[in-house]
């Protein structure tokens, strides 16, 4: 007697079609259309309940070519049409200038632009700062270059969005990213960031508001959604970035998830409910004296890093920069030459305003 053929598992939601996956978040067996519907419904609920957008707003979607931003762009366009948010959506990419890496990821963004029909704008480090990431690495070596890139990218996204006249920036940070950041900030003792990193809508004081529509989506579900929707994305890690400390935390998060699948959501819940004592002194936000960007120091981090690069002393900006900040502030006044150079650089930068 041959064994009976295996009975196919049916979708736990519609009960009609064959189940194609088991949801990481709920453990439920679903068919592809029910999974897509649930995923989209959850993102929509997040957008509505957190009041992320207002009708008529222009939203710049940070597009790196990776899975998160690709899925974000796709879902936002879909929900914008389906639910009538009334948003004008744009794709905004940052070109760090890493040969053999960013070219391929930007090519993926180009393909998505064609598919989604959204305008794409690219800002590069070279245009904004005069330094490509490849050239920065030549000067700083493999270590610490992530510090430059992280600071520059964040500011580049803001500057690019301002140039485009956007009202908000949407990033593809998912639940795993938020959980990871909570752990990182706790381990590093960064209380200021610990207070902010679980928020879904941030900014508004001297900087464009940023939101995370995928904040409650699990990373694995984002990959599943991209797979079943046939979305094309670029998934290679940056060639310069073995970020050792974050690697430890990422490994921990994977282990936590293996032990208790809801750990990611549990960490995010914890982060949302943390309360800092009122007597703890937190950094006060101001503006940079040189470029006007928001900063808790007289000079923002990007300007300090840039000054180090331009002086041929990039390591000066790594670590404690109080002395360097003071020297820069005091040295600015008597050196008319620096001011002239700064003006000429600014003029040429304005002359090359991005056309959109």
């Amino acid at each position: 007697m041959p064994p009976p053929p295996a009975v196919p598992v049916l979708c736990g939601s519609c009960g009609a079609q064959r189940a194609a996956l088991r949801r990481p978040k709920t453990g439920q067996a679903l068919c592809r259309s029910c999974f897509a519907a649930a995923f989209e419904a959850e993102v929509h609920d997040t957008i509505v309940s957190a009041r992320l957008f207002q009708p008529g707003e222009t939203v710049a979607i940070g597009a790196s070519g990776g899975k998160d931003s690709t899925v974000l762009a796709h879902v936002l366009r879909l929900l914008n049409q389906r639910h009538g948010y009334g948003l004008r959506l744009l794709l905004l990419s940052v070109d760090e200038g890493i040969a053999g890496y960013r070219d391929d990821s930007l090519a993926a963004v180009q393909r998505n632009r064609g598919r989604l029909g959204l305008p794409l704008h690219v800002v590069s480090y070279r245009e904004l700062y005069g330094w490509s990431m490849d050239r920065i690495v030549q000067h700083t070596g493999a270590r610490n270059n992530c510090t430059f890139c992280g600071v520059f990218r964040r500011q580049a996204l803001d500057r690019g969005a301002v140039l485009l006249g956007a009202d908000k920036i949407a990033t593809g940070h998912n639940a795993d990213d938020v959980a990871e950041t909570i752990l990182m900030n706790f381990l590093r003792g960064d209380v200021g960031r610990l207070q902010r990193c679980a928020e879904i809508l941030t900014g508004g004081e001297g900087t464009l508001p940023r939101c995370k529509p995928l904040k409650h989506a699990y990373e694995k579900e984002i990959v599943l959604y991209a797979y079943f929707q046939g979305l094309d994305y670029f998934s290679t890690e940056c060639v310069y970035a073995p970020n050792a400390y974050r690697g430890h935390v990422r490994a921990l998060l994977k282990d936590l998830e293996a032990i208790r699948p809801s750990s990611v959501a549990d960490l995010v819940h914890s982060g949302e409910r943390l309360a800092i004592r009122k007597d703890v002194r937190l950094p006060v936000q101001g503006t940079c004296q040189r470029c006007g960007y928001f900063s808790s120091q007289p000079l923002c981090k990007a300007c300090v890093l840039l000054e180090g690069l331009n002086r041929g002393l990039p390591k000066l900006a790594i670590g404690k920069t109080n002395r360097l900040q003071k020297a820069l502030l005091e040295g600015e006044k008597p050196e008319a030459g620096l001011e002239t150079e700064e003006n000429s650089r600014k003029a040429s930068w304005i002359g090359r305003t991005i056309d959109f």
Binding site: V7, V9, L10, G12, S13, C14, G15, A16, R23, K25, T26, G27, Q28, A38, A41, E42, D45, T46, S49, A50, R51, L52, A175, I182, L183, F186, L187, R188, G189, V191, L194, I200, L201, K215, H216, Y245, H248, L252, D255, L256, A258, I259, R260, S262, S263, A265, D266, L267, V268, H269, S270, G271, E272, R273, L274, A275, I276, R277, K278, V280
Partner: protein, 468 residues
């Protein structure tokens, strides 16, 4: 010569730090009864020694409280035989008796006899503190003199009957209760089976650890109240505090980190939990114990011989210890981050009269009000979407197919306790295969809280002040 000097200096530093920790927080009044939670581990053994040093008549600025000790035998859930348990209890008793302090040796099984008042923080609001510290000092001095007079009287007339009575107060009757654990027909033996059944039905080691901690805390609270202790000291070290911070963060208990790890924990009202060892690194404690011959007892826990990935607690402990090797300031940074957290929930503003409901199990203020855009809201939506009933002609149409919706939706069995639990305790209860296995006092208190909530709902429109 140098070694000798170093040894003495280390001891002075260590002992002074303990008294300074208590002194600067000023929360134990002279004459107050303090219950020391003893497990036999390095930190609680060291804590016991510090209290002895501090109460020493010769010590300058000596401590002025009246200590008692509690030890809980958890052998039933750790798979230990009755003989093993008896041996451990004898060793523990030898240590406790040597201190001269009154002690209470109890079994985890006794949690099944707890009253519901353990879970009702309202009936235990903090007792009024003495009007002034000086007056308390005077009261303590009088009590001390009375003790000395009584001691002289005892020396004169020591009789067998008196010694037996004293023995009873000291908790010598644990042998009888231990024997009862294996005696057919006795209530304690029935509780042993109840306890084994309860823990056998817990699906993960993580949930077992949390449940064990909950029952242990309830038992300590009950013994403290019944014997008039207003303070309980637990021996958490700096290292243990850091591990607990990250562990509880991962368990969804972010709102309660300050209560779960702070120097004092006031959620229980009349009994305050203190952590006087929390500034000592575990290594320092081990070194002190080794140098000065502090006796300890190893008892296997739930997680003994388990791998690093058997539970979240073990995973975090392993992670922090390894990270500490590579980045030596990890533990102290995590500890200092924890110091900056507040015990007051952000929503509970002083001007708002509404009192937050407490979790049925851990008695922390509930953190399960659903805020817009929150992780909890997203989780509830996901669960709701997965509860959607299948179409009529769906998989049950055939009638003979196995699986599919024959299994009840996940979490249905625990839903009746969920509204009374905080986020973290819901996760623990969710992993019980049978919620009914929980001790009776928990179910009774749940029922009482539900009745009270329904009562209040009925008369809501007539209430002028919210007494919760």
């Amino acid at each position: 010569m140098w070694a000798f000097l170093y040894r003495d200096c280390f001891k002075d530093y260590f002992v002074h730090k303990f008294r300074a920790m208590l002194g600067k927080n000023r929360c134990i009044y002279p004459g107050e009864k303090v219950l020391l939670a003893f497990s036999g581990g390095l930190a609680s053994s060291s804590m016991l020694r510090q209290v002895q040093e501090g109460l020493n008549r010769e010590a300058a600025k000596k401590l002025r409280f009246r200590p008692g000790i509690i030890y809980i035998d958890e052998g039933a859930v750790c798979g230990r035989s009755l003989d093993e348990r008896e041996n451990t209890c004898r060793q523990v008793e030898a240590i406790l008796r040597a201190t001269g302090f009154p002690y209470h040796l109890v079994f985890l099984e006794e949690a099944f006899d707890l009253p519901t008042s353990v879970l009702n923080s309202l009936s235990h609001s903090a007792a009024g503190q003495p009007p002034s510290y000086k007056e308390a000092v005077a009261d303590f001095t009088r009590w001390q003199q009375q003790q000395q007079r009584e001691k002289k009287r005892d020396d004169v007339a020591t009789s067998l009957e008196d010694r037996l009575a004293e023995c009873s107060v000291q908790g010598c009757c644990w042998q009888g209760r231990l024997a009862a654990l294996d005696e057919a027909g006795s209530s304690l033996a029935s509780h042993t089976q109840d306890l084994s059944r309860l823990f056998a039905g817990v699906k993960s080691l993580t949930a077992k650890e949390e449940l064990l901690q909950t029952l242990r805390t309830h038992l300590v609270l009950h013994v403290a109240r019944r014997n008039g202790y207003t303070k309980v000291m637990v021996g958490d070290s700096c290292t243990r505090v850091s591990i607990k911070l990250l562990t509880n963060l991962s368990l969804g208990r972010g709102a309660f980190l300050a209560m779960d790890t702070g120097f004092f924990d006031s959620r229980y009202g009349d009994v305050l939990i203190l952590r006087p060892m929390r500034e000592y690194p575990a290594k320092e404690i081990a070194f002190y114990n080794y140098l000065f011959g502090v006796p300890t007892i190893f008892t296997p826990g739930l997680d003994t011989k388990a791998s690093d990935r058997a539970s979240i607690h073990l995973l975090i402990e392993s992670f922090l210890c390894k990270l500490q090797l590579e980045f030596p300031s990890t533990v102290s940074t995590v500890y200092r981050t924890g110091e900056k957290l507040s015990a007051v929930p952000p929503e509970a503003q002083p001007d708002v009269p509404t009192a937050l409901a407490s979790c049925l199990l851990c008695l922390c203020p509930l953190d399960t009000n659903v805020e817009d855009g929150s992780s909890l809201q997203a989780t509830l939506l996901s669960e709701k979407l997965s509860q959607r009933p299948p179409a009529a002609e769906g998989c049950c149409g055939g009638g003979t197919q196995a699986g599919c919706c024959r299994e009840p939706p996940a979490g249905r069995e625990t839903s009746h306790l969920d509204p009374l639990l905080c986020y973290g305790c819901r996760l623990t209860v969710k992993e019980l295969s049978c919620v009914e296995s929980l001790p009776p006092y928990i179910h009774q208190e749940a029922e009482r809280q539900r009745c009270r909530a329904a009562m209040k709902q009925e008369i809501q429109e007539f209430l002028l002040d919210d007494d919760a």
